[in-house]
C-alpha cells in the first residue's frame, strides 16, 4: 500500500499515491483546525515534490473547491453565512478569477510564472504571517494579564463607509458600499487563480476589519466565495491552460476532506489566539521557504520547459 505508484495523466509523472494522500490528509487537518482552505500549504508542497507550478496551482483549485463546499454546507445548516454578501463578493470574485487566469497564461508564455508564484508567496505570506504572529502574541500577552482577548471592532465609521452605492446586508447587519465588497471579491479571486490558494486566510480578516462583518457569519460567507471562485478557476484553468490534473486533485480531495474533519475537532480544543499564533507561524514558515528559494543560489541554474509553459 505504501508503494503504490500512480501515473498522473496531466502532470505526466508517476507519484506515490500514499504520499499524495498523506499530504492531502495533513493539509486537510490543518485547514480544518484553522478553518481555512489550505491552498497556501498544498500548492508549495506539490511544487516541492516536483510537480510543475502550473499543474500544482491549477489542480489545487479543485481541491480547495471540494473542501470549501464541505465547510459551506456545515455553515449553511447553522445559518452562519450571509448569502447576499456572498453574492456581491462573487460579482468581483468571478471577474478577478478570470483576470487571474489570464495573467497566469501570460506569465506562463514569457517564462516568469515560477518567479511570480515565488515572489507572491514570499510577499503575501511574509506580510500576513508577520501580522498574525504579532497580533496573536499581543492577544496572548493581554490574556495572561487577565484582560479580555476579544478583537476590538474599533470605531464604527471609516472612509470605507463614506463610499456610494450602499447596500444593506441583513444577515450581517451592515450597511456598506458595494465598491469595497466587489474590490475584495476581485482581489481574492485574482490572487487565488494566480497562486492556487483559496484566500480564506486573507478574506476573513478583510471582512472583519474592513467591512465589519460579524464573526459568526464571516467564515461561512468566505467559504461560499472560495467555493465559487475555485470551481470557476478550475474550469478556466482547464479550458485555457489544460493543466488541471483530475487524478491528482481526486487523491488530494479525498485526503483533504477527511483530514479536515479531524482538524476541526482538534481546533476546538485550542484557544483562538493560540490558534492564530500557530497559523501565523505556519504562514511565515512557508513564506520563508520561498524566500530561501529566491535568494540562495540554486543548485541547478538551468531549467527546460516546453515552449509556452513553465
Amino acid at each position: 500500500m505504501t508503494h503504490v505508484q500512480i501515473y498522473l495523466p496531466i502532470a505526466e509523472l508517476s507519484v506515490n499515491v500514499f504520499l499524495i494522500f498523506v499530504m492531502g490528509l495533513a493539509v486537510g487537518f490543518i485547514s480544518g483546525m484553522f478553518g481555512i482552505g489550505g491552498g497556501f500549504l498544498m500548492t508549495p508542497l506539490l511544487i516541492f515534490i516536483g510537480i510543475s507550478p502550473g499543474v500544482a496551482v491549477a489542480s489545487v483549485t479543485t481541491h480547495i473547491a471540494a473542501s470549501s463546499f464541505t465547510g459551506a454546507i456545515t455553515y449553511w445548516r447553522r445559518r452562519a453565512l450571509d448569502p447576499a454578501l456572498a453574492l456581491m463578493l462573487l460579482v468581483g470574485g468571478t471577474i478577478g478569477t478570470a483576470a487571474g487566469v489570464w495573467l497566469f497564461s501570460l506569465l506562463r508564455s514569457i517564462g516568469q510564472l515560477d518567479l511570480t508564484i515565488g515572489l507572491s508567496y514570499l510577499i503575501l505570506l511574509g506580510a500576513v504571517g508577520s501580522l498574525m504572529v504579532v497580533e496573536s502574541a499581543q492577544a496572548i500577552i493581554r490574556a495572561r494579564r487577565g484582560r479580555p482577548t476579544e478583537i476590538r471592532r474599533g470605531g464604527s465609521h471609516t472612509w470605507i463607509h463614506g463610499l456610494p452605492f450602499k447596500l444593506r446586508f441583513k444577515q450581517s447587519k451592515i450597511y456598506v458600499s458595494t465598491i469595497p465588497v466587489w474590490g475584495i471579491g476581485f482581489f481574492i479571486g485574482f490572487i487565488g487563480a494566480v497562486m492556487g490558494i483559496g484566500g480564506g486566510f486573507l478574506l476573513v480578516p478583510m471582512l472583519i476589519y474592513v467591512l465589519r462583518v460579524p464573526t459568526n457569519v464571516v467564515i461561512g460567507t468566505s467559504m461560499v466565495l472560495t467555493l465559487v471562485t475555485m470551481a470557476f478557476a478550475t474550469i478556466m484553468h482547464a479550458a485555457t491552460n489544460h493543466l488541471v490534473d483530475m487524478v491528482l486533485a481526486l487523491i488530494l480531495m479525498v485526503g483533504g476532506v477527511t483530514g479536515a474533519q479531524f482538524g476541526a475537532r482538534a481546533g476546538q480544543k485550542i484557544r483562538s489566539e493560540q490558534l492564530r499564533l500557530l497559523l501565523g507561524l505556519l504562514v511565515l514558515a512557508v513564506g520563508l521557504r520561498f524566500a530561501f528559494g529566491l535568494v540562495l543560489q540554486p543548485e541547478e541554474l538551468y531549467i527546460v520547459r516546453a515552449q509556452g509553459a513553465t
Partner: protein
C-alpha cells in the same frame, strides 16, 4: 539513339538494384512490442530489440566484425532552456534559448564507443551520439545548430540525461553470435507519449553498410487516456466535470462526517 541510351541505362539501373542486395548485408530487426501502453501503474519499461545481419554466399568477409548503433528518437517538441541569473538579489529566469523540434527522448545505443565505430566526419553526418545530434536553436528567427560546447546546449543535454530521457550507452548492444544482436531500450516513467523512431545502423570497417528504420508508439491506455484526451480536446467540459467531482466529494464528506 536517345531512346536506346535511355533503355540501356534503365536496364543498368535495374541490374544495379538487383545486384546491391545480393552483395551487401541486409539488416533485419524486430522489437518486442510496437505499442507500449502507459497505464496508471506505469513506472517505466524496457523494450527489447533483436536484429540480425543478413548475409549470403556472395557477401564479402568483414575482418573487423560488425558494429551496430541504435538511435531511438521520441516525439519532437520545441522547448525552452532557461538560465537563472541573480537580478536585484534574487534568482530569476533571465536568459533563454529555444530548441526547435528537439527529441523529447533520445537513446543512442551501441556495441562500443562511437569514436571506435566511425570517424568524426561520418559521426557528424549521421548524427551518431549525443555530441553529434542536431539540436537546432531559434536564434532571433534563424534556426541553426550551435557549437557543441554551447552552455545552453550542454545544460539541455545534461538535464535530459539526468531525467533519464537522453542516454548514450556504448555497451548496450550485445552480439549473441557474429551476426545476431540484441539491445534493450529503456523507457522511463515520464517518457512522453507519441511515436518513437528506431534507426538501426550497421557499420563495418568504419563505414555505414546498412540501415533499418522502424517505429513504436507509446500511448496512454484506459482511464489515463480518457483523462488526458478530455483535458486536451474538451478543456471546458473537462473543467466542468472536475468541478462537479469536487462538489460531489465535498458533499459526500459533509454527509459521511455529519455530526449534528
Amino acid at each position: 539513339m536517345m531512346r536506346w541510351r535511355l533503355a540501356t541505362s534503365a536496364v543498368l539501373v535495374a541490374l544495379g538494384l538487383c545486384a546491391a542486395p545480393a552483395n551487401a548485408e541486409r539488416l533485419v530487426t524486430s522489437l518486442s512490442n510496437y505499442r507500449v501502453s502507459i497505464a496508471s501503474n506505469f513506472t517505466g519499461a524496457d523494450l527489447v530489440l533483436f536484429g540480425t545481419v543478413d548475409r549470403d554466399a556472395r557477401t564479402v568477409a568483414r575482418r573487423g566484425g560488425y558494429d551496430i548503433v541504435v538511435t531511438v528518437t521520441g516525439p519532437r517538441q520545441t522547448v525552452v532552456t532557461w538560465r537563472k541569473d541573480r537580478i536585484a538579489g534574487i534568482w530569476v529566469n533571465a536568459e533563454s534559448r529555444t530548441f526547435v523540434d528537439a527529441p523529447s527522448y533520445l537513446a543512442v545505443l551501441a556495441n562500443r564507443p562511437a569514436d571506435a565505430i566511425a570517424g568524426p566526419e561520418l559521426r557528424r553526418r549521421l548524427q551518431i551520439g549525443l555530441n553529434d545530434i542536431l539540436l537546432p536553436q531559434d536564434i532571433a528567427g534563424d534556426v541553426a545548430d550551435v557549437v557543441r560546447d554551447d552552455p545552453f546546449r550542454m545544460a539541455f543535454v545534461r538535464l535530459r540525461t539526468e531525467q533519464g530521457l537522453y542516454m548514450e550507452r556504448t555497451n548496450a548492444v550485445t552480439f549473441l553470435t557474429s551476426t545476431l544482436f540484441r539491445t534493450a531500450i529503456p523507457l522511463p516513467a515520464d517518457a512522453p507519449i507519441g511515436t518513437y523512431q528506431v534507426d538501426v545502423k550497421l557499420f563495418a570497417d568504419g563505414t555505414l553498410i546498412a540501415r533499418e528504420q522502424s517505429a513504436f508508439e507509446l500511448y496512454k491506455a484506459g482511464f489515463e487516456q480518457v483523462v488526458a484526451n478530455a483535458a486536451r480536446n474538451h478543456g471546458f467540459l473537462y473543467g466542468l466535470g472536475t468541478s462537479a467531482l469536487a462538489i460531489f466529494i465535498g458533499w459526500l464528506a459533509s454527509v459521511v462526517f455529519r455530526r449534528d
